[in-house]
């Protein structure tokens, strides 16, 4: 890597600005005026923070908490009609209200941003290198074209694009998502800015790529010495990376402090709930997750008091009187004072900037600190009944699903009139697994590994291209139309995206009634059953006549679950059921799934990319890579002793929401991207990225390259891995 020059100049940069804050945001408020008589949306209501050189501030919050809007406001990127008040100072200079031209000179050079979606961040019609060179040229017109080009290559190299000289001339569509995000980061670093704002930079990426990007951001901070503002909803991502954390809720910071204070000594019920709602990969028995009931308030119609009070388990009447200020623990006014002041006393915002100590916007924070409460103490944790199957050995339970040597290949065609086959996408390439009654089998893997294709093959109940699928002992190859229809009663699916899995034109009642009507249930029974299901998944009777658009993501996912349960299936297929939901909502849905399984004895086939959720919910886990299963076994042993190098890397790539452990861990960062499923490597398909392959001797490597490993048992038990050199 040719990073020396960058490092040298960056360090020179660092010295002259000692401890003065680089970016100071004070009392920032953003309001979007409502159109057509709609109420105004108060997206951000008084955010203050400062960041110094080399410091990383994490802004954490759920969707709609105003975290992105506040950073867009500091970049001056909000639309004209937004009303912004407060102050944003960059090196002491006020930049709020600067005109676009003056702002454009700052952007990229002093303050730059990495966006969430790497797919839309680059112009598709220019080469990646030219776009980077343009970023250099625009702020430094004196640079020669050749100089800018050289710098662009250097930057590409720095962010780990292999063969940078050559890839300079690639167009964005030739890059994978992870590589495009690297280019975006390179662009943000191009002019050695003093502040880099990262708006959910890894949300759209797979875990192994996320680990690469986080690594790269650490490099970026080291190389440029810039202050980084890291916006995320994932408490794991920030734990090991940031110095300080600001937790936002309903457009306001509700807690701020050092990363250890927030993670270990949170004094705000919201933060405590968020931390309790995260499924932990590192804990053996976590018990039920802590769900935060309800949904965030509408930003156009906020309650007068604490915005979290309606969802807070320890709310007092005083909480509804005035919005609490962000104050140090113990310095909140007492309840008597609040009552005396009444509602009109509105929070006099006296906080004089960021002091660096932990501050909380909760009137009971002092009490929480004194009593040392944790999330489990203040939130009612639901009891999840023990499954009646847990004492029956696995082998004795009836088999719900068996997949043997299943393949799904898509032909790649070329030519308009005379189509000819030019290749094959090996979406699913010979997988075997089985699932028993009352058991949860999880299929995990990165995007493009064939998880969803497998599900579609199973749900289709058609004869597969090769191999066999048998559901409840019946092979799908020999099914007639009527048999297939009957079998559908026993297996249902819950989809990933709660937006698109419910027909927007149907009422909730009709949606849940559809499977019943299809299978010929009498009208009276249908009605009774639908209301029963609505109640079962925790919705209210009056919800029946509403449309999906009127519900939040979590509620919609509950409707999807109710629909899937309508016919009392024995096997429920869950296609990433919680990945589109916020953490606090996700916890509720995960708990619901576990409760339903225990109560109804369902078997789950759970597809996910989030290994923490899988650890929490699954009994067995199968790890997929490029259409094959590379490791399968019971969850406890796979997580404790991963045998396949890919499983090891996956597990290691997941950030833990525990700062101390996270800092102590060493991540296995895989190189490169997932190879194309149209052209998988010979032999072991993982060898191109394998961390173990590099350490092997020449003849051993030869074996990896030529012989395709079979899934073989590793530790005698249930665990099996497809690696010639699996850990035993």
């Amino acid at each position: 890597m040719s990073t020396d020059t960058v490092a040298a100049t960056a360090s020179a940069h660092t010295e002259n600005t000692a401890d003065a804050p680089v970016l100071e945001v004070t009392d920032l408020a953003v309001t979007f005026p409502g159109l057509n008589g709609n109420p105004d949306v108060h997206a951000v209501r008084g955010v203050s923070y400062t960041v110094r050189r080399g410091e990383v501030l994490g802004i954490v919050g759920e969707s709609g908490s105003g975290k992105s809007v506040s950073s867009m406001a500091s970049m001056g990127l909000l639309p004209e009609h937004a009303r912004i008040t407060g102050s944003v100072r960059l090196h002491g200079e006020e930049i709020l209200g600067l005109d676009d031209r003056a702002m454009a000179r700052k952007r990229g050079r002093v303050i730059s941003m990495v966006f969430q979606d790497p797919l839309s961040g680059l112009t598709p019609v220019y080469t990646v290198g030219d776009q980077l060179a343009e970023a250099v040229l625009i702020h430094d017109p004196k640079t020669s074209k050749a100089g800018a080009r050289a710098r662009a290559v250097e930057l590409l190299d720095l962010v780990g694009i292999p063969n940078a000289q050559h890839r300079y001339r690639s167009f964005p569509h030739e890059f994978s998502g992870g590589m495009r995000q690297r280019v975006m980061i390179a662009m943000a670093m191009a002019n050695r800015p003093d502040v880099i704002i990262c708006d959910e930079p890894t949300t759209a990426l797979d875990v192994t790529i996320q680990a690469q990007i986080l690594d790269l951001l650490r490099t970026a901070r080291r190389e440029t010495g810039a202050a980084i503002v890291m916006i995320t909803h994932d408490l794991g991502v920030v734990a090991g990376f940031v110095d300080r954390v600001l937790v936002m809720y309903a457009g306001r910071p509700v807690e701020t402090g050092g990363v250890d204070d927030i993670y270990y000594r949170s004094r705000m019920p919201y933060t405590m709930g968020l931390l309790g709602a995260v499924p932990r990969m590192d804990l053996e028995h976590q018990g039920a997750l802590v769900p935060i009931k309800g949904t965030p308030p509408s930003l156009s119609d906020l309650p007068p008091g604490c915005p979290f009070a309606p969802r807070c388990p320890i709310a007092r009447p005083e909480c509804d009187m005035a919005e609490p200020e962000l104050l140090a623990i113990g310095s909140q006014p007492s309840e008597e004072e609040i009552r005396a002041r009444g509602t009109e006393a509105g929070a006099a915002r006296t906080d004089g900037g960021d002091t660096g100590t932990q501050r909380v916007a909760c009137i009971r924070s002092g009490e929480i600190a004194d009593r040392g409460w944790t999330a489990q103490d203040i939130y009612p944790v639901p009891e999840i009944p023990e499954s009646s199957f847990s004492d029956v050995p696995r082998e004795d339970r009836p088999e719900m699903l068996r997949v043997t040597d299943l393949i799904k290949h898509h032909p790649l065609m070329k030519g308009a009139v005379l189509k000819r086959r030019v290749g094959t996408v090996y979406a699913v390439d010979g997988i075997d697994f089985d699932s028993r009654e009352g058991e949860t089998l999880a299929l995990v893997g990165e995007s493009g590994c064939g998880k969803s294709s497998t599900l579609m093959e199973i749900m289709g109940l058609e004869k597969p291209q090769r191999g066999s699928v048998s559901v409840m002992g019946r092979d799908t190859a020999g099914l007639g139309r009527a048999d297939r229809f009957r079998l559908r009663r026993d297996m249902q699916i819950v989809f990933q995206d709660p937006m698109s899995s419910l027909d927007p034109r149907m009422t909730v009642f009709d949606i849940i009634a559809e499977p019943l009507r299809t299978h010929g249930t009498a009208t009276a029974d249908t009605t009774r059953r639908v209301y029963e299901l609505i109640d079962l998944v925790g919705l209210n009777t009056e919800h029946a006549t509403r449309f999906p658009a009127e519900f939040s993501g979590g509620q919609r996912q509950r409707i999807g679950i109710a629909r899937a349960l309508a016919l009392e299936p024995k096997l429920l297929v869950l296609d990433e059921p919680v990945s589109a939901l916020d953490v606090s909502i996700q916890a509720g849905v995960v708990n619901l799934l576990q409760e339903l399984q225990a109560r109804l004895g369902l078997a789950y086939l759970f597809v996910a990319h989030d290994l923490s959720v899988v650890r929490h919910i699954a009994d067995r886990v199968a790890v997929m890579y490029l259409g094959r299963i590379v490791e399968i076994g019971d969850t406890a042993s796979v997580y404790a002793r991963p045998a396949h190098p890919y499983t090891q890397a996956l597990l290691s790539a997941i950030p833990l929401p525990d700062p101390e452990r996270e800092r102590a861990r060493t991540h296995i960062v895989l190189d490169g991207d997932l190879p194309s499923p149209a052209d998988p490597p010979s032999g072991c398909s993982f060898r191109t990225r394998c961390q173990k392959f590099i350490t092997l001797s020449e003849p051993d490597r030869e074996q990896c390259m030529s012989v395709e490993p079979r899934v073989t048992a590793t530790s005698g038990g249930d665990q099996a891995a497809a690696c010639h050199f699996a850990e035993r």
Binding site: Q492, F495, D510, E514, A549
Partner: protein, 303 residues
């Protein structure tokens, strides 16, 4: 029963609430929208007017008043007369009869065919798609005016206008069906369609219950436009003496006849045109209202 989140929820009353009825709901909402009421009222009035109008005047549909040619409105001729002394009011209201029927029927048939062909082609793909789209392409490239002209000659006489309706519809569904097909292809991959399929819902029901309702905005817009398009198309045919044949008369014929006098004798043109405009407006109002009621995202529904 308790659930994880709302364990404190009151125990459900033993009586099961009745199932909501979507059709009743839609009807109730439709009738609660002023626009729809006005539109429907206008349509009813127009229909009444069309059938009662010719009886109200002393003049026959074909009758001529040789004493008043191209005269302005007067007590005898409420809306004046045309070049040959025919009473405009009688002519226009009688023409409205046929035009109302032609416009509405063509719109319904053509949009229905377009929806069915497009949705089936898009949903099933493969051979079905190829076959249906081949037919659509064929219908597009055929010189439909010529075919209409030839065929309409054959069906002159009683009920000839019904054949005309079918012919007009037969040559106007193709473009919409292609749009419907495109939309269907994108809707087909939605998860709720997968969900319905995995439930065992038969394909035709998926198309009727999930795909077509989700493009109702397009279909309604298409149908409302088609009403005026059909009337104008019929006019064009009539202009060449091929559409509605006398003694039948259509609004289009009256307008076509009066259009050359639009500046010199505006009454000849104004009254029938006003009838056409009111009619299209009424259809639009009903269509708009229907679209809003069916669309759960529309603003007016949730206000």
């Amino acid at each position: 029963m308790s659930t994880t989140e709302e364990s404190t929820a009151p125990v459900q009353a033993p009586t099961v609430p009745p199932a909501p009825n979507r059709l009743k709901d839609i009807a109730r909402q439709l009738l609660g929208t002023p626009r729809v009421i006005v539109g429907l009222a206008l349509l009813v009035l127009l229909a009444a007017f069309a059938f009662a109008g010719p009886l109200l005047t002393a003049w026959d549909v074909g009758g001529r008043d040789f004493s008043a040619m191209l005269e302005g409105p007067s007590p005898e001729h409420w809306m004046g007369t045309n070049r040959t002394g025919q009473d405009i009011f009688t002519q226009a209201t009688a023409g409205l009869q046929k035009s109302l029927l032609i416009g509405l029927l063509v719109a319904v048939i053509s949009t229905g065919v377009a929806a069915a062909v497009g949705a089936f082609a898009g949903y099933f793909g493969g051979v079905t798609d190829k076959g249906l789209m081949w037919i659509a392409d064929l219908a597009l490239v055929l010189p439909n005016f010529v075919i209409l002209a030839i065929l309409s000659r054959h069906f002159v006489g009683q009920g000839g206008w019904l054949i005309l309706v079918i012919l007009l519809a037969a040559f106007s569904w193709m473009v919409t069906s292609k749009m419907v097909r495109g939309l269907t292809i994108s809707l087909r991959e939605r998860e709720y369609i997968h969900a319905a399929r995995f439930m065992g819902v038969p394909s035709y029901r998926i198309i009727l219950r999930h795909i077509l309702p989700n493009m109702s905005s397009l279909l309604i817009a298409d149908a409302t436009i088609m009403v005026s398009a059909a009337i104008i198309g019929e006019t064009a045919l009539s202009y060449f003496g091929l559409g509605v044949q006398s003694p039948d008369i259509s609004l289009g014929m009256v307008i076509a006849e009066g259009s050359s006098f639009a500046t010199t004798a505006p009454w000849v043109f104004a009254f029938p045109t006003a009838l056409l405009v009111v009619m299209v407006l009424a259809v639009n109002m009903v269509g708009d209202g229907l679209r809003d009621v069916l669309d759960p995202y529309s603003k007016s529904r949730r206000s």
